[in-house]
């Protein structure tokens, strides 16, 4: 297991990464990962939009990401590897240590701008998001993105931050 972690980190550090904001690759076509996992995606999508009650504002209907499942679901080793990648790809310096939020939004509060399902988190990493989240799809291997998804989803699990009580102890936060 240790060896595996090292391998992943090494890949992360040496992966050839050019300008990560160039999302042309992701825009141009449906990613392989979506086609592979969802051979009948277009049929399902057509069925979905015939039921207006199910249409929600702001929901992205393209790409089929939302129905993707994480092949590493429940794999704690992959969560740890994702945590290492989170540091290696500089995710931490935007989203804060332990995903607590900094330049970028918190990933640890159990709340999601663009959906918190595995497929939606995958899509956020793969395609990027408008307020500066880079599109990593095609820049790093899909299996590394899934490790990141596993890690990110583990951060906010079971948290309730709806109420701030100012008399209790506070958590520590690191990073910048």
């Amino acid at each position: 297991m240790r060896r595996a972690i090292r391998y992943v980190i090494l890949m992360a550090l040496t992966a050839p990464l050019a300008c990560v904001r160039d999302s042309d690759a992701a825009e141009a076509r449906e990613p392989d990962i979506v086609r592979r996992q969802q051979p009948r995606a277009s049929a399902q999508q057509a069925t979905f939009i015939q039921h207006p009650d199910n249409i929600q504002p702001g929901l992205s209907l393209r790409g089929g990401f939302i129905r993707l499942t994480n092949p590493f679901e429940g794999d704690q080793a992959k969560v740890r590897e994702g945590g290492a990648l989170f540091v290696s790809y500089n995710c931490m310096d935007c989203h804060g240590a332990d995903g607590s939020g900094a330049m970028g939004p918190s990933l640890a509060d159990g709340r999601w701008h663009f959906g918190g399902s595995a497929g939606e988190v995958f899509q956020s990493i793969y395609e990027g998001r408008p307020e500066g989240m880079p599109a990593w799809g095609g820049r790093i291997p899909d299996d590394q993105i899934w490790r990141l998804v596993a890690y990110v989803q583990s951060l906010g699990a079971g948290k309730d931050v709806s109420t701030e009580n100012f008399t209790g102890r506070t958590i520590q936060k690191m990073g910048h």
Binding site: R21, C91, G132, V161, H176
Partner: protein, 607 residues
């Protein structure tokens, strides 16, 4: 894990409840100036009832000769009117007042408002909403702030977060030109306030945490055409070092130091951004600016002095040529940017009147330099500080306590000041009446652990964790008066939180400043006695100004709207409008969210 333990301990010691301000050794008598024969080093702009440039004058004094509001009557100051900017997030900077019009520029999306001061209810003359890329929001390191506009000959000029500089017709609000100066894809944004010198607009880049290569440039104010651009790392040609370059200290001399003081090509992504304030001496025709930290924070990755990061640079305003340079913190270990304002004052030092530049650095030392040569005349700590023993005046360099030098893989504990600095962007003020400088300061310390980091364009290039705690004593900020002739504190007002708003001092012997917990305060400039305070809606990270209204009355104006690095990152999330992203509170200012939440208001006061 280890860090967690240390922090919990540190918190136990540093836990502090915000209480009323404590005065610290206010022992100055009234009457004569504390520092005699000190005067602002540049001409005061005509029509002192206006406020036409970010720091009021080219010297960056933030001093006004207006004197209706005095230390005797300031207790009667009342809110006259307010205006909502329609934007939350950190309202750093200050409004301008020109020709009976007030100009307000908001944080991203950088909306500009022109407010008619002659009409009841202060209606808008115009509102300008620029095209401004949304991607800038996640590219800016430390909140989406803007530090204000400059005015010149019927034009309002300012920078957009996404890297454009714009000029707007001050009467109509019509966009005159819009020029892309910075590249978001490389992590560059712009947050600083430009300065207009003759027919040139001087602007600089932000992005010291993103592996940028910092620069400063001049644009033709009529057209937006770029006249010169100087980089702060790289070859002498790129840095604009030529025959006129005569630095005072030997370590600043040599060929291509912007290349040779870096390993390999590290200078290309080495920081040295220009996100702070600019000053200008018309007589010497020099523009003064600081440069940011080197990237990454992990110093093991960039052996050498890393020139010209963490430096004060003096450039010819017409050509951008570097005339002198002084690297305040060579080979920075602690994220001590040198971008803080440089205040130009002529005053006696060691018995002789000198043309000085006074600079309160992030590193905790207050420097009094000769602004013609870059010689350090005085350098004394102005906040609790432990990373250096002293500044060697023979070399200009700090004598470092090596136990506080950060190293990869090592947790170095209790470094003071923290990476937020003894002072950050919050600008100081100078009064020729008292000869004193008025300085908003932080009292924070940090632990620092660095690690290897890869450069990935458009992502942070940092490679360190640096959790912060309060510094020694039961306070995290202090508003101080400083004698820069002798390098000593005259008085101080202790605050429960870092003082992240700037200072304003007037001929009425009143000094104004705002606090993170939402108070605008007025104190006696000679003695530091607190005379007046008013609770605005949201914490203050902006800078008060004063002006004469069309009715002949003196007004004081300030933005309310917490944010910036201190509000956004350190205090945790204090916003209520986002159903997602409810961040847990940070450790450094765990109680701040109890005293403020996000806002965006202009407050105007009068007697």
């Amino acid at each position: 894990m280890q860090i967690r333990h240390v922090l919990v301990l540190a918190l136990g010691v540093a836990a502090c409840k915000p209480v009323g301000s404590n005065r610290d050794s206010a022992a100055v008598t009234t009457g004569a100036p504390v520092v005699a024969n000190a005067r602002i080093g540049t001409p005061v702009p005509p029509g002192d009832g206006d406020w036409t440039m970010p720091a009021h004058d080219y010297a960056s004094s933030r001093y006004s000769t207006l004197a209706q509001i005095t230390s005797a009557n300031v207790k009667n100051l009342k809110a006259a009117w307010t205006f909502s900017t329609g934007v939350l997030r950190g309202h750093e900077g200050q409004p301008l007042v020109v020709n009976k019009t007030m100009y307000v520029v908001t944080p991203y999306p950088n909306v500009a408002y022109a407010i008619d001061l002659t009409q009841p209810g202060y209606p808008l003359k115009w509102k300008y909403r620029p095209d401004n890329s949304q991607a800038a929001v996640g590219t800016a390191c430390c909140d989406v702030v803007n530090r204000g506009a400059a005015y010149s000959e019927g034009r309002l000029v300012y920078n957009l977060l996404d890297g454009h500089t714009v000029a707007v017709d001050a009467e109509s609000g019509k966009q005159l030109w819009r020029v892309q100066m910075a590249d978001l894809n490389r992590g560059e944004t712009i947050t600083m306030a430009p300065l207009v010198v003759k027919n040139r607009v001087i602007v600089g880049s932000s992005g010291g945490e993103m592996g940028v290569r910092g620069w400063i440039a001049a644009l033709d104010i009529a057209t937006g055409r770029e006249l010169w651009r100087a980089y702060n790392t790289g070859s002498d040609a790129d840095v604009k070092i030529g025959p006129r370059f005569k630095p005072f200290y030997a370590t600043e001399r040599g060929k291509d130091l912007g290349l040779t003081s870096w390993p390999g090509d590290a200078w290309k992504i080495g920081g040295g951004a220009v996100w702070g304030w600019l000053s200008y001496d018309p007589q010497l025709n020099l523009v003064y600016h600081g440069t940011s930290n080197p990237g990454p924070w992990n110093q093991d990755m960039r052996p050498g002095d890393n020139k010209w990061t963490c430096a004060i640079l003096a450039r010819d305003a017409d050509t951008g040529e570097l005339v002198w340079a002084f690297q305040v913190t060579p080979h920075d270990y602690w994220d001590y940017d040198a971008v803080n304002e440089n205040i130009l004052v002529d005053m006696p030092v060691k018995g002789q009147v000198r043309k000085t530049l006074v600079h309160f650095d992030r590193n905790g030392f207050a420097y009094t330099l000769d602004r013609a040569t870059g010689e350090v005349l005085v350098a004394q700590p102005f906040v609790p500080m432990n990373w250096a023993r002293y500044i060697n005046l023979e070399t200009g360099r700090p004598e470092i306590d090596t136990s506080k030098a950060t190293r990869q893989g090592k947790l170095v504990k209790n470094i003071c000041p923290s990476l937020e600095g003894g002072k950050n962007q919050q600008p100081a003020a100078f009064s020729p009446q008292t000869g004193l400088f008025y300085v908003p300061t932080n009292n924070l310390c940090m632990d620092f652990e660095s690690r290897p980091v890869s450069y990935i364009a458009g992502t942070p290039y940092i490679g360190a964790n640096a959790p912060e705690t309060g510094g020694p004593g039961n306070y995290k900020g202090e508003f101080i008066a400083w004698d820069a002739s002798n390098g000593r504190k005259a008085w101080g007002i202790r605050e429960p939180f870092p003082v992240w708003g700037g200072a304003l001092v007037t001929a009425g012997n009143v000094v104004f400043y705002g606090t993170l917990d939402g108070w605008l305060k007025g104190a006696n400039a000679r003695t530091g006695e607190l005379l007046w305070q008013f609770r605005v809606g949201s914490g203050i990270v902006g800078n008060p100004i004063t002006f004469t209204g069309p009715d002949g009355k003196q007004y004081v104006a300030v933005y309310s709207g917490i944010g910036g690095d201190m509000g956004l990152l350190i205090a945790g999330d204090v916003a209520a409008n986002l159903p997602f992203d409810v961040r847990e509170r940070g450790t450094t200012l765990p109680d701040l969210a109890r005293y403020t939440s996000w806002g965006g208001m202009l407050f105007v006061f009068s007697l």
